[in-house]
Amino acid sequence: MQDHKSAFEAIYGEVISQGLCVACGACVGYCPYLEYKDGKVVIIDSCKVGTGRCEAVCPQMDILRNGPGKAALEEGGGYFLSKALPKEFTKNAQYGGVVSAMVSYLLSTGRAEKAVLTDRGGKGSPKGVLVHSPLEVISLGGSRYTASASLSALNRLLKDGQPQRVVVVGLPCQMRAVSLMEKRSEIRSEQVFKIGLFCTWAMEYREMSKLLEKEGVLETPIRFDIPPPPKNIFLVEGQRGKWEIPLDRMRVAIQKGCALCPDMTGSYADISVGAAEGIEGHNTVCVRDTRGFELLEELTQKGILKVEALPEANLSHLKTAIKNKRERATTKLKERVSHGDI
């Protein structure tokens, strides 16, 4: 009867079953059909609803159908070097603690009631959490290098239909997904503050766990890091030790879908934060709109953040990395089109 695909058939057929899902969580936690479990977005049953939200908010579907979209560099904005000054923000932080500081500030000033963050996992994979106290924010500092479908936590808020001011911390795919939700008027732009994390790729939890087990990591690690090239290692820290694993041995765990993503710096975010190559304890911050600028300024004035110009060498490295990722993704996308995959 139906001559075009249902939403579910589309997202299942074109994204999930193709192994292109990047577990952002935009489709999870809203309907009973899609759930996130330990690194995978899985299908509980097949849905027969004709048009659906899952398809409309899927960032991978957006790329497949509409191309790479917003390009970081052309959009302008500004790049800075920054770090959080109060120790509490840096003790658990990945680098400079800028993300934790910003989120804590938004919550404690009431500009956000809830923050969508990623927990540390434990029994299973890290996943999305709704947080409202700055203390919790601090406790969740640091990067888990696996995708966490943390937008499922945002969906919980949206589903309850309560007007919320919320800050979302997420990877570039997640920033794209939130902007798709804004486009659908599920949430107003003023309602949601988007903090992006730079990202080249994320790993799939189960694959990563298997590899780590093989490497002798038999606990839930506390900290991960990928030091800048040319080191080419994956650093894992746990209670019982530190492991330096050649990055190439970890690559099989990288999500296949990440290759389609053209966006390294979270172009759809208000502010994005990444590493500052060669400058320990600092972040590269990319500001994209007035809201972002205002926040950065305010935090500087309050003495919470130290903000400086990004060294020229860092900027040019970053620009190359951004360009490379976009080019690789565009090629990949073209390949798929020419193979008739989409």
């Binding site: 759930e35 509980i44 609803v49």
Partner: protein
């Protein structure tokens, strides 16, 4: 019906076929009964167990049919009369002992009742258990009516003692579950003196002479069969067209011949002793016939016996045309029902009208009265919760896992009511045996996880050896025992885990967890009503290796209903239920499918069917909007 009351002696009462069999056994002075529940046989032991509360007899539900036959045989060896009952599949289980027992022979009358289920209406197979009589060289009696069943049972005990061997009495669903007037006889005093004579051992050696002896016993039975009234020709003179028939098919044939006015063209030979066949009667009756139609359930058992007999006497008999299962005039599978018989006869004798009328009459009777229904778990059934949890766990696990099923209500896991989770079902305990095999395939590159489900009664029946096998061979087997504390499918008979025997006495329950723990298996218990927690535990267990057990424990909803009911009064919050607007696609009624939930087409909302919803509360965790609410009773 309290068939054990002496006041009923010599009176006429309305009895179910199975009750008539039980009463016949009592009138025959049976003091020992054993069986394993299985439709359509269960009421025989149930009736006897009820009788055992006021008569000096012993009745038990055994752990399986083989054990039932063995237990009953102990009584026979000690000179007592005993009856053992089962369904067709059960006879497969008992057959190993049966084929040996019939070599050693018996002492006190021992009658084995098999109730077959033509068309497999309540079975996993369609099987004609009559073949076992040929396999084991023992007599086979086939009653057509409850009255005949009562008489036949009594004669079966007499015959068993005459030939010192087992006699099989075969009923089918229609007879076991029909009700008819039955004239009763008298109950005996049940006085017995059990004694095992050490000078007379029972074993199968020397084998060949014992096998020979078994055939001699059979010959003796044949002499009896020739003269016994259960085989009878109906029709005034010799006819050219003879129907050879047994059991219920005989009644249908009789009725059809009557209705279609065929008595002047057709005769019917009713066979009550189907093995060994009454040869002289058959040869005499069929001498001058040129057409023979066989009507029986299910296989061409009598048909082939008669054909073989006729070819052995080919010289003296007229050449014949045969109609039956072998000739495809009757379909090779399925119950021999009145419809088939009428269709054949009316077509053959050019009586289309009568057949058409019959069909129209039936259709008119049914019109608009029988809504389409699918197999489904009852409202509140814990299996629905368990299967939903398994469904989630396997989806989370994402390795194309599946469920290996077994026999019980939960067999319905092959259908939407169990989310089509179950991918294989065969015999009692076989799902577990299969899984002990899947669990070894990993070494050969198999990557899919398998969940095995088995009921509490099935666990004791035949799953145990398979579980031990998994343990012995260190197989990666995840077993979920669906413990609803009853043999629910067949009517809540007790089993070793329930702490109660057939006769109602209290016994120490055998612990499923205890058994598995003692073997060193990892064991956890879940509550099927707590779907998320259950799914999480199953998921975690899926990641482990070696043989392991989860007990999903919740009383059968029907039992719970009788024993105090459920805590909630469910309601749908109409503001929260967004109906067609919701992206759920009617998840509660389309996917979860508890019959207590209905989709109200006018309101375009889900609703609780208060008449059948028991208030278990599971569905509250299914609705993505939380619109299904647990209210107070």
């Amino acid at each position: 019906m309290e068939i054990y009351r002496r006041e009923l002696d010599n009176s006429k009462v309305l009895l179910q076929g199975n009750e008539a069999i039980a009463r016949g056994a009592l009138e025959a002075n049976v003091v020992f009964g054993a069986g394993y529940p299985g439709n359509p046989s269960s009421e025989i032991i149930e009736t006897l167990a009820e009788a055992a509360k006021s008569l000096p007899i012993y009745v038990e539900w055994s752990t399986n049919e083989k054990v039932a036959l063995e237990a009953a045989t102990a009584a026979s060896f000690s000179g007592l009369r005993s009856i053992v009952t089962m369904k067709q599949n059960g006879l497969n289980v008992a057959s190993d002992f049966l084929t040996n027992l019939t070599l050693s022979g018996t002492k006190g009358g021992l009658v084995l009742v098999t109730c077959d289920d033509p068309s497999g209406i309540s079975s996993t197979n369609e099987e004609d258990a009559r073949w076992f009589s040929r396999l084991a060289d023992v007599p086979l009696l086939e009653p057509s009516t409850p009255q005949e069943a009562l008489h036949m049972v009594k004669d079966a005990f007499w015959l068993s003692e005459q030939i010192q061997n087992v006699v099989i009495l075969r009923s089918i669903s229609r007879l076991s579950h029909t009700r008819a007037d039955v004239k009763l006889g008298t109950l005996p005093d049940f006085r017995v003196r059990p004694y095992f004579d050490p000078k007379v051992p029972f074993h199968t050696f020397p084998i060949v002479p014992k096998h020979q002896r078994r055939h001699e016993k059979l010959r003796k039975a044949k002499e009896w069969a020739e003269a016994c009234p259960y085989n009878e020709y109906f029709g005034n003179t010799e006819k050219d067209f003879v129907i050879v028939s047994s059991g219920c098919a005989f009644l249908y044939a009789y009725e059809a011949v009557e209705d279609l006015g065929l008595w002047d063209q057709v005769g019917i030979l009713k066979i009550g002793v189907s093995y060994p066949l009454p040869e002289r009667l058959i040869l005499d009756t069929l001498k001058s016939a040129s057409k023979v139609l066989f009507l029986e359930d299910v296989d061409p058992f009598i048909e082939e016996g008669v054909m073989a007999l006729l070819s052995a006497h080919a010289n003296g008999v007229k050449p014949k045309e045969f109609f039956g299962r072998n000739s495809s005039h009757i379909p090779v599978a399925g119950e021999t029902n009145p419809y088939l018989i009428r269709r054949f006869l009316s077509d053959y004798f050019g009586k289309d009208l009568a057949y058409g009328e019959f069909r129209n009459r039936i259709q008119k009777l049914l019109e608009g009265k029988v809504p389409p229904r699918e197999f489904g778990f009852c409202p509140g059934c814990p299996h629905r919760g368990t299967y939903y949890a398994i469904k989630k766990a396997l989806a989370w696990d994402h390795r194309e896992g599946f469920v290996s099923g077994d026999i019980g209500c939960y067999t319905m896991g092959i259908w939407p009511t169990g989310f089509n989770m179950v991918k294989s079902v065969h015999a009692m305990g076989s799902g577990v045996g299969l899984s002990s095999g899947y669990g070894k395939l990993k070494e050969l590159g198999f990557g899919q996880p398998v969940v095995t489900v088995c009921g509490d009664s099935t666990f004791f029946h035949a799953a145990l050896p398979a579980i031990v096998n998994a343990k012995f061979n260190n197989s990666d087997m995840l077993l979920i025992v669906l413990d609803n504390s009853a043999t629910a499918m067949t009517g809540f008979q007790p089993h070793p885990g329930t702490g109660k025997t057939a006769m109602g006495s209290i016994t120490e329950p055998v612990s499923i967890e205890g058994i598995c723990r003692s073997m060193g298996m990892e064991v956890e218990v879940i509550d099927p009503y707590e779907i998320e927690e259950s799914a999480q535990l199953i998921y975690e267990f899926l990641q482990k290796s070696g043989p392991r057990l989860i007990v999903a424990r919740r009383k059968c909803a029907l039992v719970q209903g009788r024993e105090g009911g459920f805590p909630f009064r469910m309601r749908v919050n109409e503001e929260r239920c967004r109906g067609e607007e919701c992206g759920c696609g009617r998840y509660c009624t389309r996917v979860f499918r508890c019959p207590g939930l209905v989709y109200e087409n006018k309101k375009k909302k889900a609703m609780i069917d208060e008449v059948i919803c028991v208030g278990c509360g599971i569905c509250a965790s299914i609705c993505p909007m939380g619109a299904v609410e647990r209210g107070e009773r």
